[in-house]
């Protein structure tokens, strides 16, 4: 089995494997530089990561972030993107960009009237006029954005939909749309198009979808429709078994720390989620002690760093390489009142998840991932009775029993 895959705009190389779980550490070389996997990608919806400057974003260690095609297609629009020369230039970002197809946005933002074989029909958020997003149009927009990784348009439906016929229709349509996306893609030498394996949870359908999409030999594979969270058990059973080894695997819309570490154990390499930046705006800090809501009165005179173990710009002391020495009490006093408060917490939260994935990667390379998992769950949940069942079950499936202490 090969550990390396090369295509015109990407090289993927596995550099370490866990001998117990399916976790891998790899290097994904993209047009705007190499990316170490596993990775968490922050979401800069409209070519801006919630008030952070591109320099601040780069400082968190990020070199791959997500932009949303749907938003950029509306503003600044394709003509402007073409005139400026793409989203990298628009936002002064030297790292890599991944874009979604725009379809998912509509399903979550707009209660859709119709998905037809042509594409997704929706109303303009500006003036209510009708619009249609086709696979061809999605690809054309992503070509104008110039993202390093682009996503096919897929027929997104909720994983929990009870309508089996509709799930089956969506799955086959997504395969047909993949073919249309591949045909419409104008820049395969500089942009990578990933397929999206449907998250519909019927094992037989998923197998068919996986086999068909793998045949199309896209440079990377995404798994979609899983971010609902309510179906974690089932997702974990069907995640990565049928996928070729030597391709990057991107699980879309997943971002809670425990979801990330479990998904890595199941063989996933890439993740994205708006949660760390959104939750920052509600005053929530992701820390090694779990998520803390710093608006809570108990932090009003807590002068410790946001997370004592964190080395981000905010948490480092002023003596430590020009850190800002931000305290919980400071965030408490400005959370929800000053935009700078949200910016500071966003810097911390994004750094936390990037650093978590960095530690995950080190543990895999040193073949200590099972040990890492046990330590992590203990640190976050303190006692075993609080461990989420889906995580215990999923990890048991790949040879790690969180409930035993051996190895700790």
């Amino acid at each position: 089995m090969s550990n390396k895959f090369t295509s015109p705009a990407l090289t993927f190389e596995i550099v370490g494997k866990c001998s117990t779980t399916r976790a891998r550490a790899s290097i994904l070389s993209l047009p705007h530089g190499p990316v170490q996997l596993p990775i968490f990608q922050p979401v800069a919806t409209q070519a801006s990561l919630k008030g952070l400057t591109p320099a601040q974003l780069a400082q968190t260690g990020c070199n791959l972030c997500l932009n949303n095609t749907y938003h950029l297609g509306l503003k600044p629009g394709q003509k402007t993107l073409d005139a400026i020369g793409g989203a990298h230039k628009l936002q002064g970002w030297k790292g890599n960009i991944l874009t979604d197809s725009g379809g998912f946005q509509m399903v979550s933002l707009l209660e859709l009237a119709t998905v037809t074989e042509d594409g997704v029909r929706f109303l303009s958020p500006h003036d209510g006029s009708p619009m249609l997003l086709t696979p061809e149009h999605s690809i054309s927009l992503q070509n104008s954005i110039g993202s390093d990784i682009m996503m096919q348009l897929d027929d997104v439906i909720a994983t929990t939909s009870p309508d089996h016929a509709r799930i089956e229709e969506a799955m086959y349509r997504s395969i047909r749309w993949l073919d249309r996306c591949i045909a419409a893609h104008k820049k395969p030498e500089s942009q990578n198009l990933f397929c999206i394996i449907q998250g519909g949870l019927d094992l037989r359908l998923r197998e068919t979808c996986t086999r068909e999409m793998v045949k199309r030999n896209t440079p990377g594979i995404a798994i979609g429709g899983l971010s609902g969270g309510e179906a974690k058990d089932a997702y974990c059973q069907t995640c990565t078994g049928l996928l070729p080894d030597a391709k990057p695997r991107y699980v879309m819309g997943v971002g809670y720390p425990e979801d990330l570490v479990v998904s890595v154990a199941l063989g996933a390499d890439m993740f994205d989620c708006v949660w760390p930046t959104r939750t920052a705006r509600f005053g929530n800090a992701i820390t090694s002690d779990g998520v803390l809501n710093l608006r809570s009165a108990r932090f009003s005179s807590d002068f410790s760093p946001i997370d004592t173990l964190c080395k981000c710009l905010c948490c480092r002391s002023i003596e430590d390489n020009d850190g800002l020495g931000v305290t919980k009490a400071l965030v408490h006093s400005i959370a929800n009142k000053e935009t700078a408060g949200a910016h500071l917490l966003s810097i911390h939260n994004v750094h936390y998840l990037l650093n978590l994935m960095h530690q995950v990667r080190q543990a895999i390379v040193q073949d200590e991932y099972p040990h890492f998992l046990k330590r992590y769950f203990k640190q976050i949940y303190k006692t075993k009775d609080k461990y989420p069942t889906w995580a215990v079950t999923a990890l048991k499936g790949v040879g790690v029993d969180l409930l035993t202490d051996e190895d700790l």
């Binding site: 979401v43 409209q46 801006s48 297609g73 503003k75 109303l123 705006r281 020009d322 800002l324 935009t339």
Partner: protein
Amino acid sequence: MSTTFHIVKPRTSEDSRQRLGRLILKGRNDIPTPNLLALATRGFVPHLTPDILQKETNILAVHAGFEDFLGPRRASPVPSNNPNTYTSLNICTSLGHRDLEISIYLEAIAKSRPDVIIAPVDIEFGRHNPGAKRRDKIVERSTAWLRSFETALKETESNHLSPAAWVPILPLEAEIQRTYLDHLEEVGGSFIQGIVVYDPGSTVNVPEAFHHLPLVSLTEPRTPHDVLRLVVLGTDIIAAPFITAASEAGIALDFDFPVKTTSKFLALGTDMWSEVAYIQHLLSAKEMLAWVLLQIHNHHVVDKFFNGIRESIARNTFEADVLEFTNAYQSELPVFQGQGPRIRGYHASLGADAKKLNQAPFKKMGHSTPARHNDDKSMSNDMKDQAVEVKRTKAVNPDVMDDFDFDGLINQSRAND
């Protein structure tokens, strides 16, 4: 003594009182004057994180109100809704209007260790033209507060934590505040290290004995023209609330002092809504980064402006340069056209019932009416391909969503916990 003020180039005329100085605060970078006093809310220059303030701006001094947590009030305070009392000042805190006991403010001096502390005075912001009775009270209370201030500050001095004391001139006519001014002179220029004015007119009331001290303007200039007038009136350190206001209105300030071209009627700023640029995109997309970038830009323009003022005074061309500037630029900042990121944060301290000022743009296919936008022209028609029957719409979770990245709605329940 923690501060010194050197007069580098003294005033040469009584009509045009500009001068060059250097404010030296122990342990800080020297501040050449005239210069800007940046305004903070809750200790932050709005929208700027401390790393950006340090790396991307030349801001040397920041004013913070004690209500946010160092002058007793913000420079442009929310109007008081209760009268001050003999021992307390009505302020607007993050929790609403409160009475600040003067004694508590004074205790805080020792704790918060500012470089400079401004003495509290009995001004009720938002209430204009006090009557005769009220004026007497202002003078009486302010004089009493100044005594407590002096005692409190002298106590901290023994702890070697002594901030410099800046003392206001009351925004009243000289005869009316005579007892207060007399008391200031009694206290003297060894204790008082700076004079603050809340009204440009007060500059003429600064007693002769204090003319060697830095004169600080906490007035509300609306334009760079107003700032030049304040320099002419002899102020050395000037707060300029219009900078943040312009940033939040989507205006990139654009002026040079001295004037660089011979054109007339130049705009003092560019309404970024009419520019195709990243900032225009960010404003239109209501992204908070728009404010950050405009704040950096606008503070840079004002920093250059003050640099130009100092060079011009040094060259002895200031008066002529001011005249030229006045003729070259329009008298007001451009009027704000578009909608910026959602008004939130410290704006909301105006009242608990502050409403969302911008509408949610994304609508469900459903009933009611579509969102109206005033940036239709900048909008792309790219996605409009075919006609389908138009159904009217209703906002998605208008009460839940805090901002405009509506993607990943599924994680909302967790985000809000």
